[in-house]
Symmetry: C2
Subunit: 427 residues, 2 copies
């Protein structure tokens, strides 16, 4: 019966069996050490006689080790295995393309990504995804607790979701189809069925630019819910979801955070909110600007930290001209919208807001943009509104961007298992 | 402050506000009823004066209702709202394409699917997805509890995953790419990193056939884990996962099960297992057959129910010639494989098994099929095996097929939110 490495310290004096990868061998004159890695961490195995077996046990070879647990304050966890019987479970492994046993990754990002199947075994590379997996858990468990229903909607769609740009086209049984850029239309539609829905799944953007923030395929955490007053209810929900995600990262990925040297931010119960026009002023930008520049976002992030001690700040009221047609205008002045961006450490992390919910408003909004509510692209979507939809709104969080900002990764590719971009389709 | 319909009975004597969709109006001589639907169920609202307001409140119009809760044994839950103030939140809704208030769906499947955005509001249609959402929760929570790590792997891939057939091709920045038919290669690779992984996500099959069991896009529940003895360990894990899924469906989708008239099956702790050669014999089939026919599967399902009282039965040892190259052969006779199908009520539900784990075995298996381990399609996948992989295995459950079998739906499309097939790309 196999035990995990992290259980070794509580088995002092017993004979146990562990299994994992040869992480590192160290030979001294009279004694040698084999460091074994499994999913729970590292363990030290001490060889006294028959050290020649180590020659066969190259790094990454998978072995099973039966031995006696002895206390040793110098060993990881304060215990080690002595008098081991080591049985290889595979042929000797080839030398890895990067040295997995070194505390830091001694290779550049392209090498790591090209060799992802093996590079991800490095505890410091793996840690990024451990944070991501914990964040996914936090997202779902928070929304499950708030009576949301999980949905899974199609990724092959008949028309480009929100715009014709940056969409991947495919051959669908001889006809044209596209990869969904977001589940926006479906999640809104499903508010008519379940009131509160979320979806975790891939979205696809044919991004022609090579930046540290964009991927051609990423994981979108989408939520949408009905019977709201306005976008402030959406922001309050987003705040609770992010708090749940941060809490899950703290409780489920503590070792990863430690390895990455990351301290989790607190998210205030009331996230500071600036109106878009105030944000421009605060950043010293031209008041006629329709969008915030990266420098503006940084200035606003600094303001929130300075004035409110918050790493998070919301900017609401973005100009309607810069928002999609389904955005709900600000009732007091329809130049502005009931939508927001949430900035985290001075960078946009989440976009959300209130949507239109009356069919007649959709007709008008589309006509104002020179489109028709009769267009086939909108017929199923707008059917939901013809048959009664409540005031609603929602948001979408990009998983990779969230994890990158949280861990301080400069490039989202560092925290993506197998990134896809303009230049990368493998592994 | 809105309360939900199902909270009404515990508020007798109080003034409350509820909100939802006008599910049905009923006019009698002196009194009228409005049945309100929200995500928790139905509520009855009683109108005495001013019944003309009902004319404006067509079915599916979204309203907010403030009224006093009165006990009434005839009302749903034993209470109803009287003296209501009804405020419409949208314009009057158009008449739905199917009558949502009738207890059974009075339309055929094509009409339901064409009008899915609204048809899914019917409690009997919605119930199918409620079962699916609960099953997803059960899958993840069971594996989370067993120390599995969730992964999200790319759906755009450079080569067809397992075979060139039935794959969707797309234009990837001017070059060819494909939609992943399964996360098989990635999940195996990730066993080298996390030992135990699962993924819930879309998979894509360009199925040229129009059947009640196949979709062009479906949700695959994949698990893979290392340090197994053989495929029997995989089957035992699958059994626990299915038990967890069934338990979650029971506890989280009880109302849906009731509405669908579904009684949950029990899954025995030890699922009955037949070797493929025994299965052929039992079904009275030719012993040289390389596969089980649907009739064979039904016969085996009946046998399991009769002899073991089990709706589930596993068939192990399928001929190697019918299994993918990564399948581990049966050590005692390599004609057979260490793989299995799990049949549920006489139909294949899950395929699983032990995989090869030695690099040299992959080289030999590919060569035996006239392929090369040096082919670019395999290079990243096989890199994991060059650098040490433990004995491992896994399985994949098709969500829609699982829910269809469980609920007795004849067609998987009945329990899919927005199915995709040879003829259907919308809604």
């Amino acid at each position: 019966m196999r035990i995990l490495n992290h259980e070794i310290p509580s088995a002092v004096g017993q004979t146990v069996t562990v299994a994992g990868w040869v992480h590192r061998r160290r030979r001294l004159a009279a004694v040698s050490f084999l460091v074994l890695r499994d999913r729970s961490g590292l363990a030290q195995v001490v060889l006294k006689g028959a050290q020649e077996q180590l020659d066969e046990l190259s790094e990454e070879t998978v072995v099973q080790v039966t031995g006696t647990v002895a206390a040793n304050p110098q060993a990881p966890g304060g215990a080690e295995l002595v008098d081991p019987l080591i049985v290889p479970l595979t042929e000797p492994a080839r030398t890895p393309p990067i040295e997995l046993w070194r505390p830091t990754v001694g290779a550049g990002l392209p090498v790591v990504l090209d060799n992802a199947p093996v590079a991800l075994r490095h505890p410091a590379v793996r840690a990024g995804w451990e944070v991501a997996a914990a964040a996914l858990h936090g997202f779902r468990s928070t929304l499950d607790g708030l009576d949301f229903t999980e949905i899974q909607t199609p990724k092959i769609v008949g028309t480009a979701t929100e715009s014709g740009a940056n969409v991947f086209a495919l051959d669908y049984f001889g006809g044209p189809a596209y990869l969904a850029q977001s589940p926006q239309f479906y999640k809104q539609t499903m508010v008519g069925v379940f009131e509160r829905v979320y979806e975790v799944g891939p979205v696809f953007r044919a991004e022609p630019h090579d930046t540290v923030r964009h991927l051609a395929e990423y994981v979108s955490l989408d939520a949408e819910f009905g019977f709201i007053g306005d976008h402030r209810d959406v922001l309050a929900m987003l705040r609770d979801v992010l708090a749940g995600m941060l809490a899950a990262v703290g409780s489920r990925a503590g070792t990863a955070l430690e390895r990455l040297g990351v301290e989790l931010p607190e998210i205030p119960v009331d996230v500071p909110v600036l109106h878009f026009s105030e944000a421009l002023k605060l950043a010293g930008a031209d008041p006629s600007e329709p969008d915030l520049s990266p420098a503006d976002e940084r200035a606003i992030g600094e303001w929130a930290l300075r004035e409110h001690g918050s790493a998070f700040v919301a900017v609401e009221g973005y100009p309607m001209v810069k928002r999609p047609f389904y955005t709900h205008p600000q009732p007091s002045d329809p130049t502005w919208s009931n939508s927001f961006d949430l900035l985290f450490r001075g960078v946009e992390l989440v976009t959300g807001g209130q949507r239109l919910h009356r069919y007649s408003d959709y007709v008008a909004a589309l006509e104002a943009r020179g489109e028709s509510a009769e267009a086939p692209a909108y017929s199923s979507y707008l059917q939901a509104f013809q048959h009664g939809m409540p005031p609603h709104g929602g948001f979408a969080i990009g998983l990779e961007r969230f994890v990158a900002r949280l861990t301080g990764a400069e490039n989202v590719r560092e925290v993506t298992l197998f990134p896809r971009d303009l230049h990368r389709l493998t592994p």
